[in-house]
Structure formats: C-alpha cells, structure tokens
C-alpha cells in the first residue's frame, strides 16, 4: 500500500491527536499559574502604536515599557528612564536605566529611545501626539537623551506610559521601522510579533481569537506578580462573559454588566471590583448650525439659546439615572473631569434637577410646547449607554420636548458625529477620558472652539465655542505650577459649564471588573489592565 506524503502526514497527525486524548495535554504543570483574562473587545494588534485606544495600549504595556510608568495611585514613576530633569522649560533630560535587555536579547540604549521617538511620530502611528511634531529627541550618550521643545509643555510626559520603547536593531532586522503602514502588501511584522523590555513576553497572537504571554524571567524590575502565563480571549457577548466567570473558566474579565454585579458577588468564587472611572459621560448639543438638523424647528437653532440648554440640563434627573439605570454605581458629576484627577472639582455642584424651572426656561425661550429633536447615542460603547439615553428621552418628554432616539453601534455612531461625518448630530451622548489625566485635555478636544488646522476642539461635536474659555485653557499650559493651573481651569469650568451650559455633564461611570476570588488584581481609575500586578493563590 502506497500512501502519499500528505496522507502519511495526516495519519501521523491523527495518531498524535488520538494520543493526546489518552494523555491529556491539558493537565497543567503543578504550580504553574495561568491568568485567564477576557474582555468584551478584541486586541487589534500587538504593535502599540497602531491604535490610540486604551485597551490595546494597556495590554501591550506588559510587553513594551515606556520611559515612565504610572503606579497604582496613578503617580508617574521612573521606568526605562531612571530619572529626568527639566534643564529649562524647553529642555528635558532623561537618564536611562542601564542593563535592561529586550526579550530577544538586544541591549536597551539611547538609540532605541531616539528610534522610538521617530517611529511613534512616523507613518502609520496613531500615537503621534505623544511627542510634539516639532520637538527634537537627541542622544547625548548611550544612557542620556534630551528632548528639546519649541513651546513649553508641563504635560509632556503625562502620556508617556503608553509610549513603549522598541528595539532599533530588532525593528531594522524585521522591517518593522514603521508602525504597520496600511499600504504594505506583506503583513507588518510588528502586528503579530513583539519584542519589548516588559515583564511579559508575547508567545502567540491570533487576532480576534486568543493572545498568550509568558513571564519574562530576565525582567529588570522585581516582579510583583506570581504568574507564569497570561491567556487573553475576547468574549463579546455579555451573558457569555459573565457565565464564563461564574463557571470558573476565566479568572478576570471586564466589564461586568451592571445588572449582573449582584449575581457575580453572590457567587462564592467570584466578585466584582468596582471603582470610579475617570471617563465622564455627558450630553452635547449642536450650537453652530443656524438651523437645527433632525428637528421640527425650522429656520433657527434653539440650542443657541442658553435658556434652552439650561432647560435640558434641569429636566434631567441624574440622581434617578444613577440610582436606577446605573444601579448606584456611577458618580454624578458637575464637571467633565473626575474629582480623582482634579482637586477643585469638589467646589462645583450640579445645576439642580427642576422640571418646573425647565419648562419655564423653555417657555421664556419661545418654546412653551417644546420641540422635536433627534438624539444620537451609541449602544455598545459606554456602560448602559442606550439605557441612559432612553431615560433622558423620557425625562425630556415630561417637559414637552419630543426626542427621537437614534441608538446605534459605535462604528456608525462615531462615523456620523465626528469630523469625518461632518459632525452630524443635533443632540448626543458621548464619553471622554482625558488621557493626560488633566483638565487641559478636555478643553483641547471637547470644549475648545473647533479649529480644523490644529485639531483644537476636534471632538467638540456641537461646537460650543467661547473664546474666553479657550484663552484661559491655553494660558494654563504656560503655567508650570499645578495649583495655579487648577485655579485657571476653575474659571474655565465655571464659564463653560455653568454660565454657558455648553455641555450637560452626567456622571463618571464605574469600572466593574469581575475576578475570581483567587485572583488579586489592582484597579486603576484609567481602566488599565496591568498583568504585572496580578497575583493568584
């Protein structure tokens, strides 16, 4: 009997597979600790520069470390840079850690930092904002790097945790000089392979299916974790993800839907780790079109009238939303920044819920019978986003405003309301996390008057615009003292959210991680998943 080579190979494989049943390869080595982690979305790439999205950034941070990192308290700590100094407001100097090696053995030096500074601002990178385009990054010696700015920037290193350092040598060897440019006909090497200095080494990455890391035994820092391996699986469906946690198939997952938290806590083996998140959920209104779109109002735009905006604000019972829709897990907010990252937030109170006042304001503004407008809302982006919008629709109905809810998946929602869709929304719900952990970021992207050239106010969908606020925010950036900066922000917040009611802030949503009781994790309000802090019993 003659078998073709292929048939033989098949037969062998089948034999091997049959053997695998008899001696299950599944039984883990005694004592080996595998962390099984699940998230609702998938890991797009193992190249952290590819997308500026917190899930991808935080997970890839276990492999690629930055010059600095943030501790459990969010404070900036030295990482690949041992220390740094500000020679003058335009001149930063970083002293690099010695003796650090990349996973594949290359030494970490100043060349890698200079290279990474070019790569992060190069083609295909979505993290170009990490370093100003006009800044020079210069090697002083093998372990010293200077950053020379054209304008002072006290917040320069605030986002550097997620600017991971690549090995120059490795990138050159594998043609990974650019962050995964799209026109490449061959798949970019760094989208499937990784080589950083971090606590975990990438073992395999099946996009959208599974990603596996193992511990880096040669990590420069003393590990806080006791893991041997981390396995990540995306599980999109809420019920399935909860079921997987309850049945002990995973050790850690995010997010636990609000509805299921009691159930997860009731299970003896699992619990919910809840904490305040720094993302603020708010409502925005079109204040730039002369005629309001998606509405029955013709020839004018009611939202241009501050009384209408305030009427909307006072019609909404945020406490009820928090109690019922968010099951008491959110933190109603007067500002669009979380108290945990803005000390003076405690001085502000929400404008009170008052349907009578709201009706009167509407009548004064010339809409005694309200009007009709469409509300755009994502239904798969934020915690209970669609339910919040539904509740808002009901509350506005009671002051006479008829809101048509347009709740859609985030791909369509963002396509319509962002610049690419011509900011096509009259009334919308959005969430924003200031990634620099600073008020300035919110003024820069959300509250500032839109300017396409500089991307200032780039996500100010309704284009609320007050030049006074812009001037204040920009002056804050010149101020190196944190307390004085905060005072300037205070004025800007007062004008934009109280005098002008440019936006209607709702709340900071709560983080809700589900963990098995044998898994100990550390939760940070920016929702980063730091494998290096996980221990398992």
């Amino acid at each position: 009997m003659r078998l073709s080579l292929k048939a033989k190979r098949l037969a062998l494989a089948a034999l091997g597979a049959a053997a695998a049943i008899v001696w299950p390869a599944l039984a883990p080595d005694a004592g080996a600790k595998t962390l099984r982690f699940a998230f609702q979305g998938e890991l797009k790439s193992v190249d952290p520069y590819q997308i500026n999205e917190s899930f991808s950034l935080s997970v890839n941070e276990s492999v690629y470390e930055g010059l600095v990192r943030r501790g459990p308290d969010m404070k900036i700590q030295p990482c690949l840079a041992e220390s740094w100094e500000l020679l003058d407001p335009l001149h930063w100097r970083f002293h690099l850690r010695k003796g650090v090696k990349f996973h594949e053995g290359q030494d970490f030096t100043a060349d890698d930092v200079v290279f990474s500074a070019a790569r992060v601002r190069g083609a295909g990178s979505d993290l170009k904002g990490r370093i100003p385009a006009d800044a020079d990054v210069v090697k002083v010696d093998d372990y010293t790097v200077d950053v020379i700015l054209k304008a002072p920037n006290p917040l320069l290193i605030n986002e550097w945790e997620s600017w991971g350092i690549f090995s120059k040598k490795w990138s050159e060897e594998h043609g990974a000089m650019d962050a995964t440019a799209m026109n490449a006909t061959t798949p970019p090497y760094a989208a499937l392979h990784a080589n950083g200095t971090g606590p975990f080494i990438l073992v395999s990455h099946e996009p959208g299916v599974k990603t596996v890391w193992k511990t880096n035994p040669n990590w420069w820092d003393k590990p806080r974790h006791n893991l041997d391996e981390v396995v990540f699986t995306p599980i999109a469906n809420n019920a399935t993800r909860v079921a997987a946690l309850l049945s002990g198939e995973i050790d850690w997952m995010d997010p636990v839907p609000l509805n299921d938290q009691a159930r997860v806590n009731a299970n003896p083996d699992t619990q919910v780790l809840a904490g305040p998140e720094i993302r603020t959920i708010f409502l925005g209104m079109d204040q730039f079109r002369d005629e309001l779109g998606h509405s029955n109002v013709k020839g004018k735009n009611p939202f241009k009238d501050v009384r209408v905006r305030k009427a909307f604000y006072q019609a909404i019972d945020e406490d009820a939303i928090n109690q019922k829709v968010m099951r008491g897990q959110a933190a109603p907010s007067a500002l669009m920044i979380a108290p945990s990252i803005y000390a003076e937030a405690k001085d502000f109170k929400r404008i009170p819920f008052d349907p009578q006042a709201s009706k009167k304001l509407l009548a004064d503004a010339g809409y005694p019978d309200g009007f009709e407008v469409q509300m755009d809302c994502p239904n798969d982006r934020y915690v209970n986003d669609e339910q919040i919008c539904q509740a808002v629709v009901g509350m506005l109905a009671r002051v006479g405003v008829k809101v048509n809810l347009n709740a859609e998946p985030k791909s369509k929602f963002f396509a319509a309301i962002t610049a690419a869709g011509g900011y096509d929304s009259s009334f919308y719900l959005l969430g924003w996390t200031p990634t620099t952990l600073e008020s300035f970021n919110v003024f820069q992207y959300i509250i500032g008057c839109r300017d396409q050239k500089t991307n200032w106010g780039g996500n100010n969908v309704g284009d609320y615009c007050n030049p006074k606020v812009d001037a204040l925010a920009k002056s804050a950036l010149q101020e190196m003292d944190e307390k004085k900066r905060d005072d300037i922000y205070k004025q800007a917040w007062q004008i934009s959210l109280f005098d002008d009611v440019g936006y209607i802030p709702l709340h900071q949503q709560a983080l809700a991680w589900g963990v098995s009781r044998k898994t100990h994790v550390i939760q940070r309000p920016d929702n980063y998943y730091i494998f290096a802090w996980v221990t398992m019993d």
């Binding site: 098949l10 695998a20 049943i21 797009k44 790439s45 500026n52 170009k128 959208g208 999109a236 997987a244």
Partner: protein, 328 residues
C-alpha cells in the same frame, strides 16, 4: 454533459461577480472604516491621509474592480483592523466554522430523519403529533436566547460544559485545526452545535415527513404493496430511499446557510469561526473581511448548487436526456 457543466460554471462565475459587486457597493455605506482604525483624538488630517492610503477616496467602481481582480488571485487584501492578510485570517477561522456546521448538520440529520419517518408512518398517532409540535418549540425562540439559556443551564448552574471558545485544538497538517480530538474540544462543541442544529432538525424532520407521505401515496409503492412486500421492506427499502434524495439536496443547500447563520451561534459562544469574524468586521467596518466572507459564502452556495444539479442529472435519467437534448 461537458457543455452543461461549462454553462453552469460560467453562470456560477457570474453569480460570484454579482455578489462581489453588490457586497462592495453596499459596504461603502456601512460606516467609515478609518474611524475604527484610529483613536478618537486622531486629527482629521491624519484620518484623511489614511483614507487616501487605503484608496477609499477612489470611485467605488475602481475599488470594486480592483477588489475583484485581486480576489480572482485569492488575494483579498489586508484587514483594516488586524493588518493581516484576509485570506490567512479566514483560513484560520474556516476549520472552526466548518466543524461546527458539519457536526450540526449531522446532529440534525440523526435526530430529524428518524423523527420524520416516525411521524409519517404513524401519522395519526399521538406521539407523532407530539413530535410535530415539540419540534416547533425549538424554533419558537430566537437562537441567541436558546444559546444563552443553554449556557445558563449547563455552564453556570450545572458546570458541565464550557461556556465559550473551542477548547484545546489539535493541528492537522499545516492549515487545519480540529477540536474533535480533545475532550475539551468535544465538550465545547456540544452546545453551539445543538443551538445551530435545532432549526435544521425541525426543517429536516418536517421535510422527511412530507416527502415520506408523498412517496407512500405513489403508484410504485402501491405496486410494491400489491406485490406482497412486507410493510417494513416497503417503508425502508422503497419509501425512505426515495425520500432521502430530496432530503439530501436540502441538507446540502442548508449547509451553506448553516455556515451563514452560525454568525449568531458563534457570537453567543465566542466560537472563533468565520461568523464571529464577520460580525466583528461589520462592527469595525473592516471591508476586506466583509467582502471576502460574503464571497466565500457565495462560493459555497454556488459549489453546492452545482453539485446538486450534477447529482440530479446523474440520478435522474430523464433530466439527463433533457440536458443532452439541450446541449445538442
């Protein structure tokens, strides 16, 4: 015969091109892919550059014809999201979906045929009527709810079966992976396969019943009875055999739609197959994956259709004559 095959092949090619074109034109409206490829802070100018790079600013017809030309060489481009060749990604997901689809088909046959035969032969018995009614219960709930209820019962409450994924897989050759050879793989397969098979089972059962009833009335069965053959021989030798031809046809055609409908099952069970990939790609506006998936489904339908047609011609001599007549 050859001419017939060639004619069918040409027609099939036409179908594929039509599907490709329709799919591609429709995708232009699904959303803006660039939005899903960059973070929300990315400035408009960068987005525009990316759009240019992807060729999204070219006329749809240019994009579509380029896509089709490349697809003819099995090059479906690179996924916007994952920056991996689409052919590789679909290839990696194919085994999961096909295993699930085939196991579900077999399950539905194993349950559907006997139930159908029984309810045809004992048409008026209470049990047959019960089967008839019960078979409908399974399809009276939407698939996603059935799936979640199964998970709730067998994973959360009883802890017998895994709630997600494919378990441990074993590679066979260089491009196939199977979950059929490991315990965890088999366990993982049970609930998704049942969920997917329910609808088919009902369909097959009713089809077998209806066909059986028809066949039992046919003249040749009467003759067989008249010739004094035992009821058993009549039922199983003559009737069932003749029933199975149309049943197999339908099962064949349904395999394609099972693959398409596995979108829901795969999403509920986080089954790493093509359906899940397709749904993810819709959410992410990953046009190359969407287009390639639809073309694949079309290809599957076309192939199955062709095979079914050919089988008919081979099986049914009258059709053969017709084909010969038509082809000269």
């Amino acid at each position: 015969m050859i001419a017939f095959i060639i004619r069918r092949l040409l027609a099939s090619l036409g179908v594929l091109i039509a599907v490709g074109l329709i799919a591609f034109v429709m995708f232009r409206y699904v959303g803006d892919p660039v939005n899903q490829m960059v973070g929300i802070e990315t400035p408009a100018a960068e987005r525009e550059a990316l759009r240019q790079q992807l060729g999204l600013n070219e006329p749809v017809i240019v994009q579509a014809s380029r896509f089709l030309l490349n697809a003819a060489r099995f090059d479906f481009g690179i996924s916007y999201q994952f920056r991996q060749p689409v052919s590789v990604m679909i290839g990696a997901r194919l085994p999961a979906t096909l295993e699930l689809a085939i196991v579900a088909s077999i399950l539905s046959l194993l349950a559907g045929v006997p139930l159908g035969v029984y309810s045809a032969l004992r048409r008026d018995s209470a049990l047959a009527k019960l089967f008839q009614a019960l078979s409908l219960v399974g399809i009276s709930l939407p698939t996603f709810l059935t799936g979640i209820l199964l998970i709730y019962l067998f994973s959360v409450t009883l802890g017998w079966l895994p709630s997600f994924g494919r378990g441990a897989v074993v590679p066979i050759g260089s491009w196939w992976t199977t979950g059929l050879l490991t315990m965890s793989g088999l366990k993982s397969l049970i609930m998704p396969a049942i969920t997917l098979a329910l609808f088919q089972m009902t369909l097959i059962m009713r089809l077998v019943r209806a066909e059986m009833l028809e066949v039992l009335r046919a003249d040749y069965i009467r003759f067989a009875r008249a010739r004094g053959l035992s009821e058993r021989a009549v039922h199983f030798h003559h009737a069932l055999k003749n029933t199975l031809v149309p049943v197999m046809t339908v099962v064949g055609l349904q395999l394609g739609s099972i693959v398409a409908f596995s979108i829901i099952t795969e999403t509920v069970f986080a089954w790493p197959g093509m359906g899940q990939l397709f749904l993810q790609s819709i959410q992410n506006v990953d046009i190359p994956i969407m287009a390639a998936y639809l073309l694949f489904i079309a290809f599957l339908f076309v192939i199955i259709n062709l095979v079914v047609d050919l089988l008919y011609v081979i099986v049914d001599p009258r059709l053969r004559a017709a084909v010969h007549g038509a082809s000269g």
